[in-house]
Protein backbone atom coordinates (compact mmCIF):
# COMPACT_ATOMS: atom_id res chain seq x y z
CA UNK A 1 0.00 0.00 0.00
CA UNK A 2 1.08 3.57 -0.71
CA UNK A 3 2.24 5.27 2.49
CA UNK A 4 -0.52 7.34 4.11
CA UNK A 5 -0.55 8.82 7.59
CA UNK A 6 -2.51 10.55 10.30
CA UNK A 7 -1.12 14.07 10.54
CA UNK A 8 -3.66 15.93 12.68
CA UNK A 9 -6.04 15.06 15.50
CA UNK A 10 -8.55 16.93 17.63
CA UNK A 11 -11.19 15.96 20.18
CA UNK A 12 -13.53 17.63 22.61
CA UNK A 13 -13.68 16.67 26.22
CA UNK A 14 -16.32 13.94 26.44
CA UNK A 15 -19.12 14.82 28.83
CA UNK A 16 -22.49 13.54 30.00
CA UNK A 17 -24.16 16.69 28.73
CA UNK A 18 -22.50 19.45 26.77
CA UNK A 19 -24.75 22.33 27.73
CA UNK A 20 -22.66 25.00 26.10
CA UNK A 21 -22.03 23.53 22.65
CA UNK A 22 -24.37 22.52 19.86
CA UNK A 23 -23.28 20.11 17.08
CA UNK A 24 -22.03 23.04 15.04
CA UNK A 25 -19.78 24.26 17.86
CA UNK A 26 -18.37 20.80 18.59
CA UNK A 27 -17.57 20.07 14.94
CA UNK A 28 -15.90 23.47 14.55
CA UNK A 29 -13.87 22.93 17.73
CA UNK A 30 -12.37 19.60 16.64
CA UNK A 31 -11.89 20.60 12.98
CA UNK A 32 -9.96 23.67 14.11
CA UNK A 33 -7.95 21.61 16.62
CA UNK A 34 -7.04 18.97 14.02
CA UNK A 35 -5.95 21.61 11.49
CA UNK A 36 -3.84 23.44 14.08
CA UNK A 37 -2.37 20.14 15.23
CA UNK A 38 -1.30 19.43 11.64
CA UNK A 39 -0.18 23.00 11.06
CA UNK A 40 -2.67 23.15 8.20
CA UNK A 41 -5.16 25.81 7.16
CA UNK A 42 -8.49 25.35 5.40
CA UNK A 43 -6.81 25.36 2.00
CA UNK A 44 -4.72 22.32 2.97
CA UNK A 45 -7.84 20.15 3.40
CA UNK A 46 -8.61 18.52 0.04
CA UNK A 47 -11.84 16.77 0.99
CA UNK A 48 -13.98 16.00 4.02
CA UNK A 49 -15.80 12.99 5.47
CA UNK A 50 -18.42 13.70 8.13
CA UNK A 51 -19.73 11.00 10.43
CA UNK A 52 -23.15 11.34 12.02
CA UNK A 53 -26.40 9.48 12.53
CA UNK A 54 -29.85 10.88 11.87
CA UNK A 55 -31.50 9.16 14.83
CA UNK A 56 -28.90 10.41 17.30
CA UNK A 57 -29.00 13.93 15.84
CA UNK A 58 -32.78 14.00 15.44
CA UNK A 59 -32.34 15.38 11.95
CA UNK A 60 -32.49 13.71 8.56
CA UNK A 61 -29.37 13.89 6.41
CA UNK A 62 -27.65 15.10 9.57
CA UNK A 63 -24.34 15.40 7.72
CA UNK A 64 -25.53 18.43 5.79
CA UNK A 65 -25.90 20.64 8.86
CA UNK A 66 -22.25 20.46 9.91
CA UNK A 67 -20.44 20.61 6.59
CA UNK A 68 -19.38 24.22 6.74
CA UNK A 69 -17.87 23.91 10.23
CA UNK A 70 -16.10 20.77 9.03
CA UNK A 71 -14.22 22.91 6.54
CA UNK A 72 -16.15 21.45 3.61
CA UNK A 73 -17.39 24.66 2.04
CA UNK A 74 -16.79 24.44 -1.73
CA UNK A 75 -15.20 21.01 -1.31
CA UNK A 76 -15.89 17.39 -2.07
CA UNK A 77 -17.63 16.09 1.04
CA UNK A 78 -19.04 12.66 1.76
CA UNK A 79 -20.53 10.93 4.76
CA UNK A 80 -20.39 7.75 6.76
CA UNK A 81 -23.28 6.84 9.02
CA UNK A 82 -21.56 4.50 11.42
CA UNK A 83 -18.67 4.41 13.83
CA UNK A 84 -15.87 6.91 13.21
CA UNK A 85 -13.33 4.15 12.63
CA UNK A 86 -15.32 3.29 9.49
CA UNK A 87 -15.48 6.96 8.55
CA UNK A 88 -11.71 7.08 8.87
CA UNK A 89 -11.48 3.96 6.68
CA UNK A 90 -13.38 5.80 3.96
CA UNK A 91 -11.11 8.79 4.50
CA UNK A 92 -8.04 6.61 4.02
CA UNK A 93 -9.56 5.18 0.83
CA UNK A 94 -10.00 8.71 -0.51
CA UNK A 95 -6.36 9.56 0.11
CA UNK A 96 -5.37 6.33 -1.61
CA UNK A 97 -7.76 7.33 -4.38
CA UNK A 98 -5.92 10.53 -5.12
CA UNK A 99 -6.81 13.25 -2.63
CA UNK A 100 -3.74 14.64 -0.85
CA UNK A 101 -5.55 15.06 2.47
CA UNK A 102 -8.89 14.05 4.00
CA UNK A 103 -10.40 15.46 7.16
CA UNK A 104 -12.70 13.01 8.98
CA UNK A 105 -14.95 14.43 11.67
CA UNK A 106 -17.54 12.68 13.86
CA UNK A 107 -20.01 14.07 16.36
CA UNK A 108 -22.85 12.94 18.58
CA UNK A 109 -24.77 14.02 21.64
CA UNK A 110 -26.23 11.01 23.38
CA UNK A 111 -27.71 13.31 26.00
CA UNK A 112 -30.19 14.91 23.64
CA UNK A 113 -32.13 11.84 22.55
CA UNK A 114 -33.07 8.55 24.21
CA UNK A 115 -30.36 5.93 23.79
CA UNK A 116 -32.72 3.01 24.39
CA UNK A 117 -35.26 4.15 21.81
CA UNK A 118 -32.47 4.84 19.32
CA UNK A 119 -30.59 1.58 19.81
CA UNK A 120 -33.89 -0.35 19.76
CA UNK A 121 -34.41 1.13 16.31
CA UNK A 122 -31.26 -0.57 14.96
CA UNK A 123 -33.12 -3.89 15.11
CA UNK A 124 -35.45 -5.37 12.53
CA UNK A 125 -38.84 -3.63 12.83
CA UNK A 126 -40.86 -6.79 12.13
CA UNK A 127 -39.13 -9.46 14.22
CA UNK A 128 -36.93 -7.84 16.86
CA UNK A 129 -37.85 -4.24 17.56
CA UNK A 130 -41.27 -5.09 19.09
CA UNK A 131 -39.44 -7.28 21.63
CA UNK A 132 -37.81 -4.15 23.06
CA UNK A 133 -34.20 -5.22 22.46
CA UNK A 134 -31.66 -2.43 22.71
CA UNK A 135 -27.87 -2.08 22.89
CA UNK A 136 -27.73 -3.11 26.55
CA UNK A 137 -30.03 -6.13 26.48
CA UNK A 138 -28.59 -7.49 23.23
CA UNK A 139 -25.07 -7.11 24.59
CA UNK A 140 -26.12 -8.89 27.76
CA UNK A 141 -27.07 -11.88 25.59
CA UNK A 142 -23.59 -11.81 24.07
CA UNK A 143 -21.95 -11.58 27.49
CA UNK A 144 -24.02 -14.57 28.60
CA UNK A 145 -22.94 -16.69 25.63
CA UNK A 146 -19.32 -15.64 26.11
CA UNK A 147 -19.34 -16.61 29.80
CA UNK A 148 -21.00 -19.94 29.08
CA UNK A 149 -18.56 -20.72 26.29
CA UNK A 150 -15.29 -19.68 27.83
CA UNK A 151 -15.78 -19.78 31.58
CA UNK A 152 -14.87 -16.09 31.81
CA UNK A 153 -16.33 -14.68 35.03
CA UNK A 154 -18.22 -11.56 36.09
CA UNK A 155 -15.25 -10.71 38.33
CA UNK A 156 -12.97 -10.73 35.29
CA UNK A 157 -15.37 -8.34 33.56
CA UNK A 158 -15.25 -6.17 36.70
CA UNK A 159 -11.45 -6.01 36.45
CA UNK A 160 -11.85 -4.34 33.04
CA UNK A 161 -14.11 -1.66 34.49
CA UNK A 162 -11.73 -1.03 37.41
CA UNK A 163 -8.72 -0.77 35.11
CA UNK A 164 -10.30 1.44 32.45
CA UNK A 165 -11.97 3.88 34.83
CA UNK A 166 -8.62 4.20 36.67
CA UNK A 167 -6.83 4.83 33.35
CA UNK A 168 -9.35 7.59 32.64
CA UNK A 169 -7.95 9.53 35.60
CA UNK A 170 -4.93 10.29 33.41
CA UNK A 171 -7.00 11.32 30.39
CA UNK A 172 -8.32 14.89 30.48
CA UNK A 173 -10.77 14.05 27.65
CA UNK A 174 -12.46 11.17 29.52
CA UNK A 175 -15.88 11.54 31.08
CA UNK A 176 -15.74 9.01 33.90
CA UNK A 177 -12.41 8.81 35.73
CA UNK A 178 -13.11 6.66 38.77
CA UNK A 179 -11.22 4.85 41.48
CA UNK A 180 -13.12 1.58 41.79
CA UNK A 181 -12.63 -1.86 43.26
CA UNK A 182 -13.88 -5.14 41.82
CA UNK A 183 -16.31 -5.18 44.75
CA UNK A 184 -17.70 -1.78 43.74
CA UNK A 185 -18.42 -3.11 40.26
CA UNK A 186 -19.89 -6.35 41.57
CA UNK A 187 -22.13 -4.45 43.97
CA UNK A 188 -23.35 -1.95 41.38
CA UNK A 189 -26.94 -2.19 40.22
CA UNK A 190 -27.91 -5.11 38.03
CA UNK A 191 -28.97 -3.86 34.61
CA UNK A 192 -29.37 -6.94 32.41
CA UNK A 193 -27.63 -10.06 33.68
CA UNK A 194 -24.67 -10.48 33.72
CA UNK A 195 -24.17 -6.74 33.14
CA UNK A 196 -24.15 -4.34 36.07
CA UNK A 197 -24.17 -0.57 35.95
CA UNK A 198 -20.37 -0.31 36.11
CA UNK A 199 -20.00 -2.86 33.29
CA UNK A 200 -21.78 -0.42 30.97
CA UNK A 201 -20.42 2.62 29.16
CA UNK A 202 -22.08 5.96 29.83
CA UNK A 203 -24.16 8.12 27.49
CA UNK A 204 -21.83 10.85 26.22
CA UNK A 205 -21.55 13.99 24.14
CA UNK A 206 -18.51 14.87 22.05
CA UNK A 207 -16.76 15.15 18.73
CA UNK A 208 -13.44 14.17 17.20
CA UNK A 209 -11.54 14.79 13.98
CA UNK A 210 -8.45 13.45 12.24
CA UNK A 211 -6.58 14.44 9.10
CA UNK A 212 -5.20 11.70 6.87
CA UNK A 213 -2.56 12.62 4.26
CA UNK A 214 -0.51 11.00 1.54
CA UNK A 215 3.26 10.82 1.96
CA UNK A 216 3.99 14.07 0.16
CA UNK A 217 1.47 16.11 2.13
CA UNK A 218 2.37 14.34 5.38
CA UNK A 219 5.85 15.77 4.91
CA UNK A 220 4.42 19.27 5.18
CA UNK A 221 2.65 18.67 8.49
CA UNK A 222 3.84 20.14 11.76
CA UNK A 223 4.23 16.88 13.61
CA UNK A 224 5.75 13.52 12.71
CA UNK A 225 3.22 11.48 10.73
CA UNK A 226 1.70 8.38 12.30
CA UNK A 227 1.61 5.88 9.48
CA UNK A 228 -1.35 3.69 8.62
CA UNK A 229 0.36 0.31 8.34
CA UNK A 230 -2.72 -1.83 7.96
CA UNK A 231 -6.49 -1.44 8.11
CA UNK A 232 -9.42 -3.75 7.42
CA UNK A 233 -13.03 -4.31 8.30
CA UNK A 234 -15.39 -7.25 8.15
CA UNK A 235 -19.04 -7.83 8.97
CA UNK A 236 -21.08 -10.70 10.39
CA UNK A 237 -24.82 -11.49 10.04
CA UNK A 238 -27.43 -8.91 11.03
CA UNK A 239 -29.83 -11.15 12.97
CA UNK A 240 -28.29 -12.03 16.33
CA UNK A 241 -29.76 -15.53 16.13
CA UNK A 242 -27.80 -16.19 12.92
CA UNK A 243 -24.51 -15.42 14.64
CA UNK A 244 -22.34 -17.25 17.13
CA UNK A 245 -22.22 -14.39 19.61
CA UNK A 246 -19.37 -16.00 21.56
CA UNK A 247 -17.09 -16.12 18.53
CA UNK A 248 -16.16 -12.71 17.07
CA UNK A 249 -15.19 -14.14 13.70
CA UNK A 250 -15.62 -10.89 11.79
CA UNK A 251 -13.12 -9.30 14.18
CA UNK A 252 -10.74 -12.21 13.67
CA UNK A 253 -11.00 -11.74 9.92
CA UNK A 254 -10.51 -7.95 10.06
CA UNK A 255 -7.55 -8.34 12.44
CA UNK A 256 -5.81 -10.95 10.31
CA UNK A 257 -6.20 -8.81 7.19
CA UNK A 258 -4.89 -5.71 8.99
CA UNK A 259 -1.95 -7.69 10.42
CA UNK A 260 -1.11 -9.13 7.01
CA UNK A 261 -1.13 -5.64 5.48
CA UNK A 262 1.07 -4.31 8.29
CA UNK A 263 3.42 -7.30 8.30
CA UNK A 264 2.46 -8.23 11.88
CA UNK A 265 2.90 -11.95 12.52
CA UNK A 266 2.97 -12.04 16.34
CA UNK A 267 0.53 -9.37 17.54
CA UNK A 268 1.15 -9.83 21.26
CA UNK A 269 4.84 -9.04 20.85
CA UNK A 270 4.74 -6.65 17.93
CA UNK A 271 1.90 -4.39 19.10
CA UNK A 272 2.68 -2.05 22.00
CA UNK A 273 -0.73 -0.59 22.78
CA UNK A 274 -4.38 -1.36 22.02
CA UNK A 275 -7.37 0.96 22.07
CA UNK A 276 -10.51 -1.11 21.55
CA UNK A 277 -14.25 -0.51 21.61
CA UNK A 278 -15.30 -1.63 25.11
CA UNK A 279 -18.91 -0.42 25.15
CA UNK A 280 -19.35 -3.04 27.89
CA UNK A 281 -16.66 -4.55 30.10
CA UNK A 282 -17.03 -8.06 28.61
CA UNK A 283 -16.11 -6.73 25.19
CA UNK A 284 -12.48 -6.10 26.13
CA UNK A 285 -11.53 -9.75 26.72
CA UNK A 286 -13.78 -10.99 23.90
CA UNK A 287 -12.29 -8.57 21.40
CA UNK A 288 -8.75 -9.40 22.60
CA UNK A 289 -9.49 -13.01 21.70
CA UNK A 290 -10.83 -12.00 18.31
CA UNK A 291 -7.71 -9.93 17.69
CA UNK A 292 -5.57 -12.97 18.35
CA UNK A 293 -3.76 -11.65 21.43
CA UNK A 294 -4.70 -14.88 23.20
CA UNK A 295 -6.50 -18.13 22.51
CA UNK A 296 -10.29 -18.28 22.53
CA UNK A 297 -11.50 -18.31 26.12
CA UNK A 298 -8.32 -16.79 27.56
CA UNK A 299 -9.28 -13.09 27.36
CA UNK A 300 -10.56 -12.97 30.94
CA UNK A 301 -7.31 -14.45 32.24
CA UNK A 302 -5.34 -11.87 30.28
CA UNK A 303 -7.21 -9.10 32.03
CA UNK A 304 -7.08 -10.68 35.49
CA UNK A 305 -3.33 -11.30 35.27
CA UNK A 306 -2.71 -7.61 34.67
CA UNK A 307 -1.31 -8.08 31.16
CA UNK A 308 -3.56 -5.28 29.89
CA UNK A 309 -2.79 -2.63 32.54
CA UNK A 310 -0.72 0.43 31.63
CA UNK A 311 2.29 -1.31 33.20
CA UNK A 312 1.49 -4.68 31.64
CA UNK A 313 2.86 -6.44 28.59
CA UNK A 314 -0.01 -5.19 26.42
CA UNK A 315 -1.60 -1.97 27.69
CA UNK A 316 -5.25 -1.92 26.60
CA UNK A 317 -7.30 1.28 26.67
CA UNK A 318 -4.86 3.54 28.52
CA UNK A 319 -7.30 6.34 27.63
CA UNK A 320 -9.97 4.76 29.82
CA UNK A 321 -11.67 3.28 26.79
CA UNK A 322 -15.28 3.52 25.77
CA UNK A 323 -16.31 2.55 29.32
CA UNK A 324 -15.04 5.97 30.39
CA UNK A 325 -16.69 7.95 27.55
CA UNK A 326 -19.05 6.66 24.87
CA UNK A 327 -19.92 9.31 22.33
CA UNK A 328 -21.53 6.99 19.77
CA UNK A 329 -19.92 7.28 16.28
CA UNK A 330 -17.09 9.35 17.76
CA UNK A 331 -15.77 6.57 19.99
CA UNK A 332 -13.91 4.64 17.27
CA UNK A 333 -12.25 7.81 16.05
CA UNK A 334 -11.26 8.57 19.66
CA UNK A 335 -9.49 5.18 19.74
CA UNK A 336 -7.49 6.14 16.63
CA UNK A 337 -6.67 9.52 18.17
CA UNK A 338 -5.47 7.97 21.42
CA UNK A 339 -3.16 5.56 19.58
CA UNK A 340 -1.86 8.49 17.52
CA UNK A 341 -1.13 10.52 20.67
CA UNK A 342 0.60 7.51 22.26
CA UNK A 343 2.80 6.91 19.21
CA UNK A 344 3.70 10.61 19.13
CA UNK A 345 4.61 10.42 22.85
CA UNK A 346 2.00 13.11 23.51
CA UNK A 347 -0.17 11.13 25.94
CA UNK A 348 1.25 12.91 29.03
CA UNK A 349 0.36 11.14 32.28
CA UNK A 350 -0.94 8.05 30.47
CA UNK A 351 1.99 7.71 28.06
CA UNK A 352 3.12 4.14 27.38
CA UNK A 353 6.87 4.49 27.10
CA UNK A 354 8.41 3.38 23.86
CA UNK A 355 5.12 2.67 22.06
CA UNK A 356 5.95 2.26 18.36
CA UNK A 357 3.05 0.22 16.99
CA UNK A 358 -0.57 0.44 18.09
CA UNK A 359 -3.95 -1.10 17.30
CA UNK A 360 -7.15 0.96 17.21
CA UNK A 361 -10.57 -0.65 16.83
CA UNK A 362 -14.17 0.33 16.26
CA UNK A 363 -17.46 -1.54 15.92
CA UNK A 364 -20.74 -1.07 14.09
CA UNK A 365 -24.04 -2.81 14.61
CA UNK A 366 -25.39 -4.79 17.55
CA UNK A 367 -22.89 -6.85 19.57
CA UNK A 368 -19.98 -5.96 17.30
CA UNK A 369 -21.62 -7.08 14.05
CA UNK A 370 -18.87 -5.30 12.14
CA UNK A 371 -15.32 -4.52 13.21
CA UNK A 372 -12.71 -2.10 11.87
CA UNK A 373 -9.08 -2.69 12.86
CA UNK A 374 -6.25 -0.20 12.40
CA UNK A 375 -2.53 -0.83 12.81
CA UNK A 376 -0.67 2.44 13.24
CA UNK A 377 3.09 2.93 13.44
CA UNK A 378 5.70 5.58 14.09
CA UNK A 379 7.84 4.47 11.19
Amino acid sequence: MERIAIVGVGQTKYEARKRGEIFYDMVYEVTDKAMKDAGFTLGDIDNVITVSNDFWDGRTISCMAVQEVAGAHDKNVSTVEGDGSFGAFYGAMRVLGGFGTTLVVAHSKGSEGDSKVITNAMFDPIYHRPLGLDAISSSALQANVYMERSGVTEEEFAHVSVKNHANAKNNPYAQLPMELTVDDVMRSKRIADPLRLLDCSPVSDGAAAIIIANEERAGKALKPPIWIKGVAHCSDAYFLGDRDLGDPRSLRDASQRAYAMAGVSDPLHEIDIVELYDAFSYMEPLWLEGMGFCDAGQGGKMVERGITTVDGELPVNPSGGVLSAHPVLVAGLARIIEVTLQLRSEASARQIDGAKTGLAHGINGPCGQSHCVWILGKE
Binding site: E21, E29, H128, L131, I191
Partner: protein, 151 residues
Protein backbone atom coordinates in the same frame (compact mmCIF):
# COMPACT_ATOMS: atom_id res chain seq x y z
CA UNK B 1 -15.45 26.69 26.12
CA UNK B 2 -16.81 29.69 27.96
CA UNK B 3 -19.63 29.31 30.38
CA UNK B 4 -21.81 31.68 28.39
CA UNK B 5 -24.88 30.53 30.28
CA UNK B 6 -23.69 32.67 33.17
CA UNK B 7 -24.47 35.70 30.99
CA UNK B 8 -27.64 34.64 29.21
CA UNK B 9 -30.47 32.26 29.98
CA UNK B 10 -29.67 28.80 28.64
CA UNK B 11 -32.52 27.59 26.49
CA UNK B 12 -33.30 24.10 25.28
CA UNK B 13 -35.82 23.16 22.64
CA UNK B 14 -37.97 20.07 23.04
CA UNK B 15 -39.11 18.15 20.02
CA UNK B 16 -39.96 14.68 18.88
CA UNK B 17 -39.74 12.95 15.55
CA UNK B 18 -42.72 10.69 15.27
CA UNK B 19 -43.01 9.22 11.81
CA UNK B 20 -45.65 6.64 10.97
CA UNK B 21 -44.28 3.83 8.81
CA UNK B 22 -46.02 1.02 6.98
CA UNK B 23 -43.33 -1.56 6.40
CA UNK B 24 -43.98 -4.31 3.89
CA UNK B 25 -43.39 -7.63 5.56
CA UNK B 26 -42.69 -9.38 2.26
CA UNK B 27 -43.69 -12.82 1.03
CA UNK B 28 -41.80 -15.11 3.38
CA UNK B 29 -42.48 -12.83 6.36
CA UNK B 30 -46.18 -12.75 5.56
CA UNK B 31 -46.32 -16.55 5.31
CA UNK B 32 -44.49 -16.80 8.65
CA UNK B 33 -46.72 -14.31 10.48
CA UNK B 34 -49.95 -15.62 8.97
CA UNK B 35 -49.00 -19.13 10.15
CA UNK B 36 -48.45 -17.75 13.66
CA UNK B 37 -51.78 -15.95 13.56
CA UNK B 38 -54.04 -18.54 11.95
CA UNK B 39 -52.45 -21.88 12.86
CA UNK B 40 -50.16 -21.23 15.83
CA UNK B 41 -47.40 -22.83 13.78
CA UNK B 42 -43.80 -21.64 13.50
CA UNK B 43 -42.47 -21.86 9.97
CA UNK B 44 -38.85 -21.83 8.87
CA UNK B 45 -37.27 -22.35 5.51
CA UNK B 46 -34.22 -24.16 4.21
CA UNK B 47 -31.53 -22.90 1.87
CA UNK B 48 -31.37 -25.17 -1.17
CA UNK B 49 -27.62 -24.75 -1.38
CA UNK B 50 -26.10 -24.81 2.13
CA UNK B 51 -29.16 -26.46 3.78
CA UNK B 52 -29.33 -23.94 6.66
CA UNK B 53 -32.83 -23.80 8.16
CA UNK B 54 -33.72 -20.20 8.98
CA UNK B 55 -36.28 -18.76 11.36
CA UNK B 56 -37.68 -16.20 10.79
CA UNK B 57 -37.64 -17.40 7.18
CA UNK B 58 -35.65 -15.56 4.53
CA UNK B 59 -36.16 -15.20 0.84
CA UNK B 60 -32.42 -15.48 0.15
CA UNK B 61 -29.57 -17.12 2.06
CA UNK B 62 -27.25 -14.43 3.45
CA UNK B 63 -24.45 -16.96 3.92
CA UNK B 64 -24.21 -18.50 0.47
CA UNK B 65 -26.71 -16.52 -1.64
CA UNK B 66 -28.54 -19.77 -2.35
CA UNK B 67 -32.19 -19.75 -3.31
CA UNK B 68 -34.70 -20.72 -0.65
CA UNK B 69 -37.90 -22.51 -1.66
CA UNK B 70 -38.37 -25.25 0.91
CA UNK B 71 -40.68 -24.54 3.84
CA UNK B 72 -40.22 -26.41 7.10
CA UNK B 73 -42.64 -26.55 9.98
CA UNK B 74 -40.55 -26.15 13.10
CA UNK B 75 -41.45 -27.38 16.55
CA UNK B 76 -42.95 -24.94 19.02
CA UNK B 77 -40.29 -26.07 21.48
CA UNK B 78 -36.59 -25.56 21.60
CA UNK B 79 -33.51 -25.07 23.75
CA UNK B 80 -32.29 -21.80 25.24
CA UNK B 81 -28.79 -21.03 23.97
CA UNK B 82 -28.45 -17.53 25.45
CA UNK B 83 -30.41 -15.48 27.94
CA UNK B 84 -30.44 -12.32 29.98
CA UNK B 85 -32.79 -11.19 32.73
CA UNK B 86 -33.60 -7.54 32.18
CA UNK B 87 -33.81 -5.39 35.32
CA UNK B 88 -34.55 -1.94 33.92
CA UNK B 89 -37.87 -0.63 32.67
CA UNK B 90 -38.42 1.28 29.48
CA UNK B 91 -41.53 1.96 27.36
CA UNK B 92 -39.96 0.10 24.41
CA UNK B 93 -40.26 -3.15 26.36
CA UNK B 94 -43.35 -5.28 25.75
CA UNK B 95 -43.75 -6.45 29.34
CA UNK B 96 -42.82 -5.26 32.85
CA UNK B 97 -39.44 -6.25 34.26
CA UNK B 98 -38.05 -8.52 35.34
CA UNK B 99 -38.39 -10.57 32.19
CA UNK B 100 -35.81 -12.31 30.04
CA UNK B 101 -34.63 -12.29 26.48
CA UNK B 102 -33.61 -15.68 25.19
CA UNK B 103 -32.15 -17.01 22.00
CA UNK B 104 -34.02 -20.27 21.40
CA UNK B 105 -32.82 -23.00 19.04
CA UNK B 106 -36.23 -24.24 17.91
CA UNK B 107 -36.51 -27.93 17.09
CA UNK B 108 -35.64 -28.29 13.41
CA UNK B 109 -33.95 -24.89 13.00
CA UNK B 110 -30.26 -24.16 12.48
CA UNK B 111 -30.28 -20.56 13.70
CA UNK B 112 -31.44 -19.00 16.94
CA UNK B 113 -34.82 -17.32 17.41
CA UNK B 114 -35.00 -14.37 19.81
CA UNK B 115 -37.99 -13.94 22.05
CA UNK B 116 -38.97 -13.25 25.63
CA UNK B 117 -39.58 -15.34 28.75
CA UNK B 118 -41.80 -13.84 31.43
CA UNK B 119 -42.13 -16.49 34.11
CA UNK B 120 -40.16 -18.90 36.19
CA UNK B 121 -36.98 -16.87 35.71
CA UNK B 122 -35.32 -18.64 38.64
CA UNK B 123 -35.17 -21.81 36.54
CA UNK B 124 -33.85 -20.08 33.45
CA UNK B 125 -30.43 -21.20 32.26
CA UNK B 126 -28.91 -22.11 28.94
CA UNK B 127 -29.90 -25.60 27.89
CA UNK B 128 -33.43 -25.57 29.37
CA UNK B 129 -36.26 -26.55 27.06
CA UNK B 130 -38.90 -23.96 26.39
CA UNK B 131 -42.23 -23.93 24.58
CA UNK B 132 -43.96 -21.14 22.70
CA UNK B 133 -47.09 -19.79 24.35
CA UNK B 134 -49.37 -18.15 21.81
CA UNK B 135 -51.43 -15.07 22.51
CA UNK B 136 -55.20 -15.39 22.67
CA UNK B 137 -55.69 -12.52 20.25
CA UNK B 138 -53.30 -12.77 17.32
CA UNK B 139 -52.77 -10.23 14.58
CA UNK B 140 -49.93 -11.45 12.38
CA UNK B 141 -47.21 -10.04 14.65
CA UNK B 142 -44.07 -11.40 16.32
CA UNK B 143 -45.88 -11.02 19.66
CA UNK B 144 -48.55 -13.48 18.48
CA UNK B 145 -46.11 -15.64 20.37
CA UNK B 146 -46.76 -14.12 23.78
CA UNK B 147 -43.57 -15.56 25.20
CA UNK B 148 -41.75 -18.84 25.76
CA UNK B 149 -42.34 -20.86 28.91
CA UNK B 150 -39.82 -23.13 30.57
CA UNK B 151 -40.86 -26.77 30.35
Amino acid sequence: MTNWFEDVAELTHKGQIKVPYTWSVGEVGSRFLVALRDQKRILGNRCGQCRTVFVPPRNRCGKCFGEIHEWIELGDEGIVTAHTIVRYNHPIQPTPTPFAYAIVKLDGADVGFIHIIKEDLGRLKNGVRVKARFSESRRGHILDIDSFTII
